[in-house]
């Protein structure tokens, strides 16, 4: 039972490049979330999903897109990366809406 798995763990991008962060959970959780964590800012919700095929905006959605084509996977995309998107990104999942129970170990993304 792996819980929540994020790939990749580290990535360096150049400004303007695109990439997709992958999140997979094996607990059959209905709800999934993407957060970013920056020093002194805590955890801020980017997007979330209440089920397969559904997504919604969180607190800081600009510059990101998401997709949930399968219940177990939640993808976060950066279409044109900017230095302000340098951060640690966490995926989480839960049975109860709004309260993440399990987090992945994060993707550390640097944009030059």
């Amino acid at each position: 039972n792996a819980g929540v798995t994020q790939t990749p763990k580290f990535r360096v991008l150049k400004t303007g490049q695109s990439m997709t962060l992958l999140c997979a959970q094996d607990m059959n959780h209905e709800y999934m979330y993407w957060y970013r964590q920056d020093p002194g800012m805590g955890l801020r919700l980017i997007h979330y999903s209440v089920g397969e095929g559904t997504t919604a905006k969180g607190e800081v959605p600009d510059g990101y897109n998401v997709s949930r084509l399968k219940k177990q996977n939640f993808l976060l995309g950066l279409e044109s990366a900017a230095p302000s998107q340098t951060s640690v990104y966490f995926c989480a999942s839960s049975f109860r809406f709004g309260v993440p129970q399990h987090f992945g170990d994060g993707t550390r993304l640097s944009i030059l």
């Binding site: 979330y33 800012m41 805590g42 919700l45 966490f90 709004g98 309260v99």
Partner: protein
């Protein structure tokens, strides 16, 4: 608008001492108050949570105290150990809205 205010930002406690982290909220619709623990290089982990119908919840060395009238809640870590050194986040949840996190407290327990 910050809906959950957490203090202090950082805390240093002697081994065996009591660590206390405080949070205050504004939205009276909040009805669930979890705490998360995060070690360096790892994702946060749900540690303990409380509902407003009780004033205290204890799990091992970790206790949440809740004051509904003051709209405040706190995490107490008794007999603090170096292994408790981590960042702690309080949070608040209401109905069908996403969780609101505090900005975190970095705890260092020194021997």
């Amino acid at each position: 608008q910050q809906q959950v205010k957490q203090s202090p930002q950082s805390l240093i406690v002697q081994k065996g001492g009591i660590s206390i982290i405080n949070c205050a909220y504004e939205n009276t619709a909040f009805d669930y108050f979890p705490w998360y623990q995060q070690f360096p290089g790892k994702g946060p982990a749900l540690l303990i949570a409380i509902r407003p119908d009780v004033s205290e919840k204890k799990e091992g060395r970790f206790t949440i105290s809740f004051n509904k009238s003051a709209k405040q809640f706190s995490l107490h870590i008794m007999d603090s150990q170096p292994g408790d050194s981590a960042t702690y986040f309080c949070a608040s949840h209401a109905g069908n809205t996403p969780l609101v996190f505090g900005k975190g407290t970095r705890l260092s327990v020194i021997a």
